[in-house]
Symmetry: C2
Subunit: 324 residues, 2 copies
């Protein structure tokens, strides 16, 4: 049995607890939180501990699934945790991944631990599609579209702005761009020409709407490169929208193997719950981290470094027999 | 530069020569054939050698791309070649893969070589989709559909029947099955309930149509489990159909992460030329074989064993920066 722990118990942490309850080769020792443990009633019966108790579990947890956000939780905390534990996280600030990787790779190698970063569906499964498609169809272009759906990372980033009580952000593909790509026309499209971002924001009484809107639309990495629409709404409205966490998207590569011989490769997802699905991907990669660590692997890894055989609960023989 | 050779020069071999001409990190030393070398005029200017000369290249070729068929060429020849060379092939008789793997794994380990088998889009990319989807969405069902398109392996198998001059086989999804799967209904479908197989066969004068038809429809692994329709047509008609080698298909997994929270994952291909695309996949995996061999890896491997970083001509840093 692979022994794991959950760090952080928001939507992603809840999803991880549910996904782990279905993994017969994994055992969850508990949830670790910065909140008061008694304030949490887990969806799945699991002990809840304060983060202060984490070190008591050193040596008895194979992998920690880090379920914090990418804006501050993961950049601030992962390196410290990685000194004593193997980790998996869903760090999704694309532009900062190289820097995050370098930092964790160094810590992990110094401490003999292993960290799989940027696991989920984008980065994650969509990255796999982009890398695979580019390798097998080198003469082509690829396009990633998201939505319509809530981006947890972007909603989180808005919520961290002073004066914001709550917020939700929808990423929406620009229909015209989508039609062009699927036709094999291979248009040049900047990231902001493929989607727009719609934000619903509830603010504190007396907060400066104009200033908050400006902070959102100019936020680097998150909103600056997109057409962004901000709506100020009541906290109740935001809460209602937060009940529905559907998402989806697709990666398309359109290219050719020789003149006038064209191919279209496509990977798509339609998800009722973005955090539950991301959690399910994290659990598969936690299995991989435990197995790779057993083989002596240390450092920082991404989906590009991990063979599929490590993700599946099936044996290699079974995989070849049933899935190849 | 990775030095490679092409063994066999049918449609797949031609596709490989074209794909290699676009890979700036690979150099093709030549084509090896069982035919009279002077009878071959390659699409891309490359030397053509008799298979008898292959051993002269021992030590100066990093990987051989084996472009023979799965019915007899690969089962008969790969093990012998693997004693002296690293190989990549597109062995696609699904039911016989475990046996083929075991045999080659033994030969490769005894001889310190490396063999990547069953590379292409199915087995190959579709296998990746099945394994990945199953690992990240364990509570679900997956479905593979092919077509409409020509199956090279099945056409080849018909052509090997006594009395058959030429033949082409189309695999066609059963529309009703497709609709059910995409709806998330999760129907139980046998492989033969998802597709039918349509064969166009030209026979020798005086050959026994009834006997040939029976040999086709009862052929194990290839046709026995499918509704198969056989049409006897002229050799000219078959040849005309053989000019068009379009194919495609998709892998869908429909499942749930918790009650009433459902996800649909889909991977699809639309290919103008099945052999050219399969060739392009073989070339990416030839790169992986050369790199893995450099790291000391020996034995037999499949798409489940090879991390994506080995397939891409990009550096690991570039992949994390641009594709993750």
């Amino acid at each position: 049995m692979i022994k794991v722990g959950i760090v952080g118990y928001g939507n992603l942490g809840k999803g991880v607890s549910i996904a782990l309850s279905k993994a017969s080769d994994m055992e969850c020792v508990g949830i670790f939180t910065r909140r008061e443990p008694s304030s949490i009633t887990p969806e799945i019966p699991l002990p809840v501990y304060s983060m202060d108790k984490l070190m008591d579990f050193k040596g008895s947890i194979d992998v920690l699934l880090l379920c914090g956000g990418s804006a501050t939780d993961l950049p601030n905390n992962t390196a410290g945790i990685l000194k004593d534990f193997n980790t998996v996280d869903s760090f999704d600030t694309h532009a900062k991944i190289p820097e995050y990787f370098e930092k964790l790779d160094k810590v992990a190698k110094e401490n003999g631990t292993l960290s799989a970063i940027s696991i989920g569906w984008d980065p994650g499964l969509f990255s796999i599609a982009r890398a695979l498609f580019g390798a097998v169809l080198p003469d082509g272009k690829d396009y990633t579209f998201w939505g319509k759906g809530v981006s947890q990372g972007h909603s989180d980033a808005i919520r961290r702005i002073d004066g914001v009580k709550n917020a939700i952000q929808y990423t929406i593909p620009i229909e015209d761009a989508l039609i062009k790509v699927r036709s094999g026309e291979n248009p040049d499209l900047s990231v902001g020409e493929k989607h727009y971002r719609e934000c619903f924001v509830a603010i504190e009484d007396g907060a400066d709407k104009e200033k908050i809107e400006k902070q959102i639309v100019t936020m680097p990495n998150y909103f600056a490169d997109y057409k962004t629409v901000v709506h100020f709404v009541s906290e109740e409205e935001v809460k209602k929208m937060q009940q529905k966490l559907a998402h989806g998207g697709f990666v398309i590569r359109s290219g050719s193997t020789s003149e006038n011989i064209n191919d279209i490769l496509e990977f798509s997802l339609k998800l009722d719950s973005n955090p539950q699905f991301t959690a399910s991907v994290l659990v598969a990669y936690a299995r991989a981290v435990a197995r790779l660590k057993d083989e002596g692997k240390t450092g920082c890894v991404t989906v590009f470094d991990i063979p599929l055989k490590y993700l599946s609960p099936l044996s290699e023989d079974e995989m070849r027999k049933h899935l190849l």
